[in-house]
């Protein structure tokens, strides 16, 4: 159980400044939970840390990250980890509360992540476009999305070099299994800056308006493991189906019905396989690059595996 010893040493290092505790004691607590009570290691570690926090009467945030490990943004996949990031501040957002000093988006070559800096942490201000090495930041998770929090123990070092920032591009390969409502020929609110789709000729913000036609698809692309929601804008829709906005308008005009457009699109794309690449916005992927997977997939290596297992 050398893994436990490592955890014990990490935890000990975090607390050695605050409480009088030896490694063996930490390890014993971890062992009781993991070995005797079958608690998963991460949960055990969390629980032991909480115990010492209480004993020392300090907040989790005040703990020095004994094992703040340098990670890339894409590697952040669990909450409550002490990490070190080298990242560029892409943009600052308006804090919604007085307790937040700064909030915004950090990026590195592997992706982007939200950060929060608390007012009480008393840290220097970060500037948009600056590249920083941030030691002792804590990861957090909310509804499946990760963020990092700067705290009183965070060490901020401004770097001279620039840093390339990657986006959260998703690549999906799967079958198009459904088209959702609101696909096909739609009308949008004509007010500048308003992109609402009209429902029965009404914009939720501007009321009854003369809408402007647009073409889009909200589709579900499913690979048998996850169902992904994908949005195709007018250009991507035309690339996918060969059907452009003007032609779609004519079709709807001839039929005196806009739903013929969605029907025509679903006839052309449902049940087929696609490779889709594009940025992620909330639960949607925006289709930037679409390729139909027309050729047969390679079956030979799979057959060898099927015969051998």
């Amino acid at each position: 159980m050398s893994e436990l010893r490592q955890h014990a040493e990490d935890v000990h290092a975090q607390f050695s400044d605050h409480v009088d505790v030896d490694v063996a004691d930490v390890r014993e607590r971890l062992e009781t939970l993991v070995v005797d009570y079958k608690v998963p290691t991460d949960e055990a570690r969390r629980s032991v840390i909480n115990h010492y926090l209480e004993e020392a009467g300090i907040e989790r945030e005040e703990l020095a990250g004994g094992s703040s490990e340098a990670v890339s943004i894409e590697e952040i996949d669990e909450p409550e980890r002490w990490v070190e990031l080298t990242a560029k501040l892409i943009e600052l957002w308006e804090p919604r509360s007085d307790s937040i000093d700064q909030v915004g988006l950090l990026g590195d070559p592997t992706g982007t992540i939200k950060f929060t800096k608390w007012a009480k942490s008393d840290l220097p201000r970060l500037e948009e476009g600056g590249v920083y090495r941030l030691r002792n930041v804590v990861t957090d998770e909310y509804q499946g999305r990760y963020s990092v929090k700067l705290n009183r123990t965070t060490v901020i070092e401004e770097l001279e070099e620039d840093l390339e920032v990657g986006d959260d591009t998703s690549v999906i390969e799967g079958a198009m299994v459904d088209m959702q409502r609101g696909s096909g020929l739609i009308k949008r609110c004509p007010h500048e800056g308003c992109t609402y789709v009209l429902q029965n000729g009404r914009c939720p913000e501007h009321g009854e308006v003369e809408g402007e036609f647009d073409l889009r698809i909200k589709a579900v692309v499913d690979d048998g493991i996850d169902a992904h929601e994908v949005i195709f804008d007018a250009e991507a829709t035309e690339g996918l189906t060969g059907l452009g906005l003007e032609e779609a308008k004519e079709m709807a005009m001839d039929a005196l019905d806009t739903t013929v457009v969605a029907d025509e699109i679903s006839d052309r794309v449902l049940g087929s396989y696609y490779r889709i690449e594009g940025p992620t916005f909330g639960r949607y992927v925006l289709a930037d690059d679409v390729e139909e997977l027309a050729g047969p997939a390679d079956s030979e290596s799979l057959l060898i595996k099927a015969r051998s297992i």
Partner: protein
């Protein structure tokens, strides 16, 4: 899992031979609207499936109302697809379809018990689309891959569950455990279906 109510159920990939053995259905909660799952014998739950095969026959088997049955054949067996007045688009697709043709079907597993005490598994389609041969071949390969993944996970679980000291350290594979409890047929059968399906792809199509 309450968060699951908001997420769309994934469409599982399963060959007809395995699908037709998925006679046990269950819900994860007592909520009336909780989704229904068919238990796949290789140890997975399926609320929705996606398959591509050859539509060989369609027939209106309804009495007062139209009720269409389609037979969709894959390399391992036949999916039975039923669409009536509550699935107007799928029913129209079956009515208008020409057999034989390749179709891609998205639908929900359903079971019914005819009088002989057996349980039949069928599909209530959400969409039926005519596709080409390349799409069908791609589905066969994809389904083979997903099925092998399930078989491997099942066997791993089985090995550890059966190990003498294994009782406490078994990684959970809830649906593998459920499948072993509910079904008699060994997963080996489904490995053979996979081999059979892939071998079918290797055969050269008739040369002139």
């Amino acid at each position: 899992m309450s968060s699951n109510e908001l997420t769309r159920e994934v469409a599982r990939r399963v060959f007809a031979a395995e699908f037709n053995d998925a006679t046990y259905t269950f819900k994860e909660s007592d909520d009336e609207r909780a989704p229904n799952y068919a238990l796949l014998p290789t140890g997975e739950r399926a609320n929705r499936v996606f398959f591509v095969g050859t539509l060989t026959e369609t027939e209106d088997v309804g009495e007062d109302n139209e009720y269409w049955r389609g037979r969709v054949v894959d390399p391992t067996g036949t999916f039975f697809v039923y669409a009536g007045q509550y699935q107007p688009e799928a029913a129209a697709a079956l009515r208008d379809a020409e057999a034989p043709s390749y179709v891609a079907v998205v639908g929900k597993p359903r079971t019914y018990e005819p009088e002989d005490g057996r349980i039949n598994v069928s599909v209530r389609p959400e969409t039926i689309a005519v596709v080409d041969e390349a799409t069908r071949d791609r589905w066969v390969v994809e389904t083979a891959e997903r099925t092998l993944d399930r078989i491997e996970a099942f066997r791993e679980w089985e090995l550890e569950a059966d190990a003498p000291e294994g009782a406490t350290t078994v990684p959970s594979n809830e649906y593998a455990a459920m499948a072993r409890e509910r079904y008699d047929s060994p997963v080996e059968n489904y490995r053979r279906s996979v081999v059979q399906a892939l071998e079918g792809l290797e055969e050269p199509t008739a040369t002139a």
